[in-house]
Subunit: 214 residues, 2 copies
Amino acid sequence: MVTAHHAPGETRPGGRTARTRQAVLAAVFEELGDGGYAALSMERIAQRSGIHLATLYRRWRCIEGMVCELLADLSADVLLPDTGSLPGDLRALSHAIGAFYGDARRRSLIEAVVSAAARDPEAEAVLREFFDARLTLAGRMVVRAVERGELPADTDPKEVMSALGAPFYYRILIARRPVDAALAESAATAVWAAARAGAYARPDGAPAKGAGEG
Amino acid sequence: MVTAHHAPGETRPGGRTARTRQAVLAAVFEELGDGGYAALSMERIAQRSGIHLATLYRRWRCIEGMVCELLADLSADVLLPDTGSLPGDLRALSHAIGAFYGDARRRSLIEAVVSAAARDPEAEAVLREFFDARLTLAGRMVVRAVERGELPADTDPKEVMSALGAPFYYRILIARRPVDAALAESAATAVWAAARAGAYARPDGAPAKGAGEG
């Protein structure tokens, strides 16, 4: 056992806890590149990060917690566009998602996160809340589009954003083929056409007053 | 160790091998209902099915092989419609997929299959080939639609069918919320609008001569 000099969960920027966290998440990401999800283990992450195994277990409990935290961390790099039109925003975000998942380590990561959620109710709750928050944030582009009159007022922003993401997760998890620019282009074109056709209308016909309501 | 009276892999209908297979797959399905993927183990399946553990290991090697075989088995029950129009076919199939995944055991099964593929290259190959074959079969409705002049000749049948399935897998694996009739309706409406807008055109513009070419 190592001795904790700081309280667990302390996140003083640049402090020991923050450095430990960065070292561990970087090690998880590199391990995903080396052996994918199958080879991931607390022991290997401890070895690669140089952080004591006991510290890992104290802070993350298990692999499931680590992969969920890494996904949240990396996804912050996918910026939400504001190009002035919904087709422009959808296309920019779709290509950003495509570029994100162009990296095999990130495809392994989403596999790891989904596998974690299948086994661990706590990881499942983290995953559900994480994507819900992302959909609400990204849904702002749909709220702006409704305000500009590009889409009907009863369009559900989260359903639109779910539909934009869905083809990528299908490709990675189900079809198990690489993500490419053609998929990103297809997803953006499809969602724009479908949204105009009313495919994402709220069943109750309620107008979208804000993305947070979805 | 039990003694094998028949060669492994023999599938004489109604024979001992077929009965064993049915008992084991039924036990896997029931176990998924009881404890989901997390609780699945060879020991529990042996206990529930009444088949010796050694027999299970000899025929399936691991849980991964069993869940892939169960998915293939159950999916045969989702019949491919031929209503005379593509919107009708899409709507019928979408509601059939929605009904299929309305059962929590089937949602646990797809989680189990995706988790298996993340860990085991052999399970991944089985999953990829299984969905590829399903997409080709279902793609016949798109080939018929092109022949009827409902869609442009360069429409990729497999891309259309992937887009129909994607929202269900996103809902189950990523958003982690229940599948409902509203999702089925939305998916069918979306794919029809997107296909007409050219979202699933082959990048090279080649006409679809048959669903098997995709």
